[in-house]
């Protein structure tokens, strides 16, 4: 997920380089948007689980990693196209999420709301370690990525080059977010999930089986993680240790967006992607991780409920 670029705002730049610098900048923005869409998708699942269950799943990044390896396996063993792999990875992740809820997080949500976060951190870190170890065992610690016949294809618009596979991933990420939005807005249980997020006691008194709403939200959140992982594996690369980084990215986006709006989360993801790309261009690659954390702190100080939060 790292794209390195030389600093373009350096002191040695002379006037004749301006056109090239603008193009470089635009190119960085495009790459930032393409990656940011995946940040948005990764964050949507975390946001849903946090908003509904009031549980912070720090193993969310590991669930993304599993989604990536799911697609990798389907590709390497069965020759599946990674985009087609989504058709199996998404339902598989949904099922995995349901199992994890029943086996682990279902116990966490029984606790009082103040204790939940603490307990969920313990359970989440435990799960993250276990999944990391499992992934190293199954797939070794090496970086992997899926290379399809069309992996090198590039769309050229003016002087910008857009990797086709990443563009496809962005489109799918957006489609999934839009589908999620519709699901929560229209579906009977989608409304029940939103009601539970807003006031779980009132939801109970309304006749909603809140435990089932939790189960559904966690399963859907895991499915989104799985889908995000698949898209990462095809446009970028995956490794067993990618989880923490993605959890952090998702958390930054959730804090920036606030809870309650999936489309807002997606937009915040794009924003973080672009901000990272620009800072990498301005200050050099190593600084791309820093900008996300700066955004994180600034938002917490200035607007704790986020840009789109209720």
């Amino acid at each position: 997920m790292r794209t390195s670029a030389a600093p373009i705002w350096g002191p040695s730049r002379c006037a004749s380089d301006d056109g090239r610098a603008v193009t470089l900048l635009a190119q960085q923005i495009v790459l930032g948007l393409l990656l940011g869409g995946l940040y948005g998708l990764a964050a949507a699942g975390l946001s849903l689980v946090f908003g509904v269950l009031k549980v912070l799943n720090v193993a969310h990044g590991e669930l993304i990693m599993l989604g990536g390896y799911g697609a990798f396996w389907l590709f390497a063993l069965l020759g599946w196209d990674p985009f087609a792999a989504l058709l199996l990875v998404i339902p598989g992740s949904l099922l995995l999420g349901a199992v994890l809820y029943v086996g682990l997080f279902g116990f966490v949500v029984r606790a009082h709301e103040e204790i939940r976060i603490k307990n969920s951190l313990l359970v989440g870190f435990g799960l993250a370690l276990a999944l990391h170890a499992l992934a190293v065992r199954l797939w070794t610690a090496d970086d992997r990525s899926i290379t399809t016949p069309y992996s090198g294809a590039v769309l050229t618009v003016g002087e910008l080059s857009i990797p086709v596979i990443r563009l496809g991933s962005l489109a799918i990420a957006f489609a999934l977010i839009a589908a999620l939005h519709l699901l929560l807005a229209r579906w009977r249980w989608g409304k029940a999930i939103r009601a539970t997020a807003e006031d779980w006691q009132a939801a109970l008194l309304t006749g909603i089986d809140v435990r089932r709403a939790y189960l559904l939200a966690f399963a859907i959140g895991t499915a989104l993680a799985g889908a995000a992982g698949t898209l990462v594996s095809v446009g970028y690369s995956i490794s067993p240790s990618m989880g923490l980084e993605w959890t952090l990215k998702a958390l930054i986006v959730v804090v920036l967006a606030g809870l309650g709006s999936m489309l807002g989360t997606f937009v915040a993801g794009l924003f973080v992607g672009v901000a990272e790309a620009l800072s990498a261009a301005a200050f050099g690659g190593p600084y791309r991780e820093v900008v996300g954390l700066v955004i994180f702190v600034v938002v917490l100080v200035l607007r704790p409920r986020g840009l789109f939060g209720r």
Binding site: A192, R194, T206, G207
Partner: protein, 239 residues
């Protein structure tokens, strides 16, 4: 129909209810009066399944409610309008009402229920696509009552429905309750507005310090010296 026998409840070491026994018969309007902190909301919470009583029995049509999750209690025909309304404020009036008919039994009759609610509160029909947060307090209370009615309850429990509402709307809410009752729904009402509650209710219980200290029919309690002094104020005693 609803029977509480010797119910004790506590939060940690703090005893809230001690040996509460009461009943609400079919089609009855029963008020529960008492000062702040007497345990009125806790009592409703016990019946609705949000609070687990320490001891005692809570029976609904002969069946023990204590082991049931709140959503299953709603399914059995007991709906609650909680204190402070607790609406889903970011959703529309229509969504709130629709969620009220979430349990399978209520879902089967949700069209008729919705018509009934709109007949009872025509203003909600006009505002059905509005976000609940943008309504006035009184209109929000109508949504809260409407949401509970969507569950097709046989017993409607309300916690302080007149709290924080303009006086003329209090009248509208209480009139609506009388009309709901005429349709055969029993009502169990916790209310600060003692005079209004006693005028509406067939019977009332008085809860003080977690114990039932008085019981009687509405008009008799209105004349009762202790009730007048404690709940209607010194002016009422001189009246």
């Amino acid at each position: 129909m609803l029977e509480l026998h010797d119910v004790d409840a506590a939060y940690g070491d703090v005893r809230v209810l001690s040996g509460v026994t009461l009943r609400v018969g079919p089609g009855e309007i029963v008020a529960l009066l008492g000062p702040n902190g007497a345990g009125k909301s806790t009592l409703l919470g016990c019946v609705a399944g949000l609070v687990r009583p320490r001891a005692g029995a809570i029976r609904w049509e002969g069946q023990d409610l204590r082991a049931l999750s709140p959503h299953l209690i709603v399914e059995r025909g007991l709906a609650t309008v909680p204190e402070g309304r607790r609406l889903f404020a970011s959703m529309t009036v229509e969504d709130n009402l629709e969620l009220g008919a979430f349990s399978p039994r209520a879902r089967a009759t949700r069209r008729q229920s919705l018509d009934r609610v709109f007949a009872l509160f025509p203003v909600l029909h006009a505002r059905r696509r509005q976000i609940v947060r943008s309504l006035s307090g009184g209109q929000q209370q109508m949504v809260a009552v409407g949401r509970a009615l969507m569950a097709s309850p046989r017993l409607l429990m309300l916690d302080e429905p007149s709290l924080g509402i303009a006086p003329q709307l209090v009248r509208a809410i209480l009139d609506a309750l009388a009309e709901i009752n005429r349709a055969g729904v029993a009502i169990f009402l916790v209310e600060q507005n003692v005079r209004a509650a006693l005028t509406l209710a067939h019977r009332a219980y008085i809860l003080e310090g977690g114990r039932i200290v008085g019981e009687g029919n509405g008009s008799a309690l209105l004349q009762d010296a202790h009730v007048r002094r404690a709940y209607l104020g010194p002016l009422a005693v001189r009246e």
